[in-house]
Subunit: 183 residues, 4 copies
DNA sequence: CATGAATGAGACTTCATTCAT
DNA sequence: GATGAATGAAGTCTCATTCAT
C-alpha cells in the first residue's frame, strides 16, 4: 500500500517529466513545470528524487526499455533475415510521421546536458549500444555481423537528419542504403 | 582597421559566445558568462545585440560560413571524383579527434533551442542544405547526383554517433559505406 | 496566531509594497525596493506572489476594504440624512490634511498602470462603484437617490484637485456644492 | 536654416514623446521608444534636451497652450453668459468620446511623476490655475465669480471620473451640477 | 515521512545618460 | 555640433534545492 502510493508519486513525476523533457528538452523544462503538471508538491518531489538529474535518469531508463522493446518488435515483423533489418527502418518511417514525434529521446539529450553529467552520457551510450547489438543479432544469421555498426550509423543518420529537416526522406534514404549494404 | 575597432565589441561578444555555446550549449550559457569572459559590460552587449538569440544567429552564420569553407577545402584535396567525396569524411576523421571538438555546432543546437525559435531552425536547415548541395556537386561529375542525400545521411550519422560515443569508429564506418555507395 | 506566522511573509510584502506604491507610485516602485524594505528575499517574494501586478491587486483589495470601512464609518457620524452625506466630505477634509496623505490610492493608479492591466482597472472601477453605491444608500432616505452620481463626481473632483494643488480648498468647495445640491 | 533643422529635431522629439507620454504614460515611455519612433538618434536627442524630464516640460507647455486655446474657443460658442460656462462641459462631452482620448494630460501625470519633480507639479498647477481663471472670467459677467472654483471642481471631477469608468455620464453629471449652480 | 515556506544565485532585458570622436 | 558606442544601475522573474515543522 505504502509502496504503491510512493511509487505512484514517483511514476507520476516520471510520466510528466518524460513528456516535458521529450517535448521541450531537459534544460528548458523546469522543476516548477513538472510539479505544476504532475500535481505533486515540490517537497514531495524532492523526497522521491534527490535531483532533477535523477528524474532524467529514470526517464532514460524507462523510455530506453520501451524503445528497446519497440525496436525488437519492429524487427520481428520482417519476413526474412534481410527483411528484419529493413523492418526497423520501416518502423522509423512510421514513427517519424507520428504527431507527437520530436526526434530520438536520446539524441535530443546528448547535446543539451551539462558537461559534467557523465552518468547521463553513459546511460545514453548504453542505450545506443543496445541498438548496435540488436543490429548485430539481426545480421548474424546472414553472416554479416560486421555490418552492424554501419547499419547503426544509418539509423542515427536517419533520426538526426529527420530532426533537422522535419521530413521523411532521410529515413527513406537510410533504408535505401541499408538495403544496398545487405543485399 | 576602422572596422576592427568599430565591430570590436560585436565580434568579441560573438567570439566568446561562440566558444561557450559550442562547448556548453546555448541554454547552458548565460549572458552573464558571456559578458564576464568577453569583458563587455551587459548594457553594451545589449546595444550590440537585441537578444541572446540574436547572438546565436550571428554565431550560426559565422560558424556556418567557416564550416562551408572547410568542407569545400577538404573536398578539393581528393584526387579524383570519388576521392573528393571521401576526402570530406577524411576531414571529419581528423576533425573529431581534435582536442576542442564537441560535435557538430548545428546538430548540437537542434534539440536544445526553444520550440518557438523558428529562425534558428531555418538557419540550421539552410546550413545543412548547403552540405547536401556540396555532396550533389561532388557527385555530379560521376553522374551519381542522386546519391547526394544518402551520402549526406552518412555525414550526419557519423557526426551524431561520434558525439554519442565519443569515438572515431562511426566516422570510419560512414566513410566505408560511402566508399561502397560510389564505388 | 498560526495565520499570522503563515501569512507573515505575504503580509509583510503587501504592507511594504502598499506604503511604497502609495507614496511613490506603482511604476516608480521596484521589486528590489520592496524586498529591501520588507526584508523578504526576492525568491520568497515570488513564491508568495506570481507577479508584481499580483501584489498590486492585493494592495487594491486590502486598501479598498479599509477605504470602504472608513467612508461608511465617516458617514455614520452625520447627525441626519443630509449630515451623513456631508460627513463624508468632512472626513475628506481631515484626511487630506494628514501628514502621509498623497491622494486617493485608486485615482493615483489609474493613469500609471500599463495599458493592458485590465484587471487593475476593473478593481478600481469596482472600488469606485462602491462609493457611488454608498452615496446612493445615503441619499435614498431623503428620496434623492438620483443625486448619487453627482455627489460622487464632487467626491472625485475634490480628491483629484487636492492632489493637483495640494490644498484643502477643493474639498471645501466640493462640500459646499454638495450642501447646495441636497439642501 | 540651421535653426529650422534644430527646431525640427526638437519638435519631432516633442511630437513623438507627446503622443507616447499621453497614451502610455511618462514612466511607461522609454527614451528608446521615443528615438525609435521619432527617428532621432539618441545622442542628438540629448543635445536637444538635457533630460527626459525636459522633454516632459516641453510637452506640458505645448499641450497646455493647446488646451487653453481649445477651452477658450469652446467657451466662446456659448450663446449667453451661462451658456459659455456650460459650453465648456459640452466640449468635454465631445472630447471624451474621441477615439484617441485617454484622459486629461495633466491629471494623468500628477500621480506618476517622481516625487521630486517639483517643476512638473508647478507647471501642472499653473495649467490648472489657468482653467480656474477661465471659469472666473466666464462667471464674472454674471457676478458669480465666487463660483469659479466650484465649477472647476466639477471640471476635474468629470475628467477623472471619466478616466476611471471610461463612460460619458460623469461629464453629463458634472454639466448638470454646473447648470444648477449658475441657474 | 510529507510538506509549506523559504532561499541564494542567476536568468534575460531595459533604464536614462555620457563619452570620445 | 552631431553621433555611434558605451555604461552602471536597475528592471522583473525563475532556477534547482533545502529547511523547519
Amino acid at each position: 500500500m505504502r509502496n504503491e502510493r510512493k511509487n505512484g508519486v514517483r511514476q507520476a513525476i516520471v510520466d510528466t517529466a518524460s513528456r516535458l523533457f521529450y517535448k521541450q528538452g531537459y534544460v528548458n523544462t523546469g522543476i516548477n513545470q513538472i510539479i505544476a503538471e504532475s500535481g505533486v508538491v515540490k517537497s514531495t518531489l524532492y523526497t522521491a528524487f534527490r535531483t532533477k538529474e535523477d528524474i532524467l535518469m529514470e526517464y532514460l531508463v524507462q523510455s530506453g526499455a520501451a524503445t528497446d522493446a519497440a525496436l525488437k518488435l519492429a524487427a520481428e515483423k520482417g519476413k526474412d533475415d534481410k527483411g528484419k533489418v529493413l523492418a526497423v527502418f520501416d518502423y522509423l518511417i512510421d514513427l517519424v510521421q507520428e504527431k507527437e514525434f520530436y526526434g530520438c529521446n536520446f539524441l535530443n539529450l546528448i547535446s543539451e546536458i551539462p558537461t559534467d553529467a557523465e552518468r547521463v552520457i553513459k546511460q545514453i551510450q548504453k542505450q545506443k549500444n543496445g541498438v548496435r547489438k540488436l543490429f548485430a543479432s539481426l545480421l548474424e544469421p546472414m553472416g554479416k555481423e560486421e555490418l552492424a555498426d554501419e547499419i547503426y550509423i544509418l539509423f542515427e543518420g536517419a533520426l538526426i537528419a529527420n530532426k533537422v529537416h522535419n521530413k521523411v526522406w532521410p529515413v527513406d534514404a537510410a533504408k535505401k542504403i541499408a538495403a544496398k549494404l545487405i543485399s
